[in-house]
Symmetry: C2
Subunit: 332 residues, 2 copies
DNA sequence: ATGAAAGCGCTAACAG
DNA sequence: CTGTTAGCGCTTTCAT
C-alpha cells in the first residue's frame, strides 16, 4: 500500500488538513510545522494521489487532446505547442488519435469527458453535426485548433487558409503564369474545399483567367499519390506552367514527378505550397511555401483554453494567427 | 452537477451496486433489470466518472508516455504505435515531453506516478542513475521503448542498432570503399556512442581498414548542422568516398552539401543512413537506408506493458525487433 | 440477483 | 494557525 496523507499526518503529529495545506502551498501553516511535515513527506516518500485529489476538488489538471494522427508531422508539431503551454500551466495531456472518423471522435470525446478532463482541444477536418451535439453535452471548455469551426461558435485558433491560398496563387499569376494547377488534398476536408480551393479560384478569377477543371487534381494527401497524379498533368496538351500544392508532401511528390519526366523546377514549372514539414526546406530546389505556424497554433490554443478553464473573460473567441510566404527556389 | 450513479439508481429503483454492475458488464444482473437501468442511463445522460472509479478500484486505465519530443517524427511514429495498442486494450495515454533533460524526466515520472497511471512507457537517450532510482520507487511496470536499458533490467523493446550500423557500413565496404565517414548525432547519446559508432568501427576494423579520426563527424542531429558539417569532409585532401549517416535528416543535409559542391550521389559519394522519416524516400536520389520499425517498436512496447500490468508471465523482457536495409539510389 | 455499507485518499468548509 | 468533519462518485465485499 502506498503512503497516504494520513500516514504523513500521523507521523508528523498534525491533522491531514495541515498536510494538505503544505502540499498545496497554502500559506496558513507555521514555518516550523511546514518544515516538520515536509520532512515526514520526504522520509516516507509520500506522493499525493492526484486521482483522490481530482475527486475531492473536481479539478484534474488534465486536458484532453483529440488529434487525427499524431504521427503526422503537422499534428505532432501542433501538439508540441499545446504540450509546452500545458506544462507551463501545470496541466497534463491525454492524447488520443481519431483518424478523423466521426464515430471515433464521438467515442473519444465521451471518453475524455468521463475522465474528467478540465478542458479539451480538438482537431479534425470538420465538425459534424454529431460532434457538435456531443460537444454541447460537455461541461468543460473546448477549443478547436487548426480546425474549421464552420458555424459552431466554438473558440478557434487558426490561420486564414483562404487568403493564404489566394496570395500564393496570386504570386504565381504575378510571375506571368496563365495555366496554374491546384493539386489538392481530399475535397472531403473542409479546409481544402472551403478554404484553399476557394482562395485558388478567387485569385484565378480576379486575374480574369478561366477556371479549368482539368487543372484541379485531388490526391489523398500522400507523397506517393501526388507522384502518381502528376501523370494527369504531364500528359495534358496544355500542360500547366505553375502548380499550387495543398501541402509540401504533395508538392514534393509532384516535383519528383516533374523531374523524373525531365522537366525542371522552377524553369519549366513553378511550384508553391503550404509548408507543414521540414520537407519544404530539405528538398532541392527548396520549395517556396506558405509557412504555417503550427507550434504557435497549438500554443495559442492551449493558452486560450487555460483562460476559458479559469473562467477568465476572453475577448476574441476566434483567433487568427499570421502566416508568411517564404520565397525559396521553386518559384522565380 | 453532473448526473451520478446514485441518480441513476434512484431513477431505476435499484441500488447503486446494481447500476455499477450493469455499467461494468457484470453478468449477475437480471436482463430485465439491466434493460431498465440502461434506459435510465440513456435518459439521464449518465457518464461514469472515471476519477471516482479510479479511486475506488485503484486502476485508472491510463498509461503514461514520456517522450523526448513528440514533434520529432521518430517519436511521433513510435507514439502512434503505442496509442493504437493502448486503444485496443482500452487505455488512455498521458503524453509528456521531456526534451531528454534528466531533471524534467524525474519530474514527469513523479507526476505521472502521482496521477496513478497503471503503467509507463519511457523513451530517452539513456537511463541515468537518478532516473533508474526514480523508477524503482514506481509500483507500476515501466517499459523502455527504443531506448537503451544499459544495465537496468527494465523491460525493453528495441532493434539492434549496433548490428544494423555494422551491416550498413559493411555494405559500403563491399562496394569497394576504403574511406568511409560516419556522420553522427551527438555522442552524448548512448545510442550513438554505444551502438552506431561501435558497429561502424567493427565493420571498418573487420575489413582491415584504419579508423580515421577525421572521418568521424559529430552533429547536433539537425539537417542544418549536417549541411554545415559537410564542409569538414569536403575540404579534406583524402575526402571520403562513402558516408554512413546516423539518420536521414543528417543524410539529407550531407547530401545537399555534396550536391551544392557539384558532386553527385552515388557516383562520387555513396550514402547510407538510418531511416526515421519520409525524407529518405522523398529526396532524390532516394536514400539507401536501414528502415527502423518505429510504429512496431511502439506497438510492441505497449503490448508488453499490457501483459506486465495484467501480471502475466512474460518470457522475454528484452524484445529485439527486426529491421531491414532498403537499397535505394544513394548507393550502387 | 440485489442491496447495504465501508471505504479509496484527498479537499474544503467550518470551528476554534 | 490547526483540527474536525463531510463528502467527491464509485467499487467491492458481505449479506440476503
Amino acid at each position: 500500500m502506498a503512503v497516504t496523507i494520513y500516514d504523513v499526518a500521523r507521523e508528523a503529529n498534525v491533522s491531514m488538513a495541515t498536510v494538505s495545506r503544505v502540499v498545496n502551498g497554502n500559506q496558513n501553516v507555521k514555518p516550523a510545522t511546514r518544515k516538520k511535515v515536509l520532512e515526514c513527506i520526504e522520509r516516507l516518500g509520500y506522493r499525493p494521489n492526484a486521482v483522490a485529489r481530482g475527486l475531492a476538488s473536481k479539478r484534474t489538471t488534465t486536458v484532453g487532446v483529440i488529434v487525427p494522427d499524431i504521427s503526422k508531422s503537422y499534428y505532432a508539431e501542433l501538439s508540441r505547442g499545446i504540450a509546452d503551454v500545458a506544462t507551463m500551466y501545470e496541466y497534463n495531456i491525454i492524447l488520443s488519435n481519431s483518424d478523423k472518423r466521426t464515430s471515433r471522435e464521438v467515442e473519444l470525446l465521451e471518453d475524455h469527458l468521463g475522465k474528467q478532463v478540465d478542458g479539451l482541444i480538438f482537431m479534425s477536418d470538420s465538425i459534424t453535426e454529431e460532434i457538435r451535439h456531443e460537444m454541447e453535452t460537455a461541461n468543460v471548455p473546448i477549443v478547436l485548433a487548426g480546425t474549421l469551426g464552420s458555424g459552431t461558435n466554438l473558440p478557434t485558433v487558426n490561420i486564414d487558409h483562404e487568403q493564404a491560398a489566394y496570395e500564393a496563387v496570386k504570386k504565381l499569376i504575378d510571375n506571368g503564369h496563365k495555366r496554374i494547377a491546384y493539386v489538392s488534398g481530399p475535397l472531403t476536408r473542409d479546409i481544402n474545399r472551403l478554404c484553399k480551393k476557394v482562395g485558388y479560384e478567387r485569385a484565378i478569377k480576379e486575374a480574369g483567367l478561366p477556371i479549368i477543371e482539368e487543372y484541379f487534381i485531388e490526391t489523398d494527401n500522400t507523397y506517393d499519390d501526388a507522384y502518381e497524379q502528376w501523370r494527369k498533368l504531364s500528359t495534358m496538351k496544355e500542360r500547366p506552367t505553375a502548380i499550387f500544392a495543398g501541402n509540401d508532401e504533395i508538392a514534393v511528390g509532384i516535383m519528383n514527378g516533374i523531374r523524373d519526366d525531365g522537366f525542371t523546377v522552377p524553369t519549366d514549372i513553378e511550384l508553391i505550397c503550404f509548408q507543414h514539414t521540414l520537407l519544404s526546406r530539405a528538398v532541392r530546389p527548396q520549395l517556396t511555401a506558405i509557412v504555417v505556424p503550427l507550434y504557435d497554433l497549438g500554443a495559442v490554443s492551449m493558452r486560450l483554453l487555460t483562460k476559458l478553464m479559469n473562467g477568465e473573460e476572453v475577448e476574441q473567441m476566434e483567433v487568427e494567427l499570421p502566416y508568411r510566404i517564404e520565397e525559396r527556389q521553386s518559384t522565380n
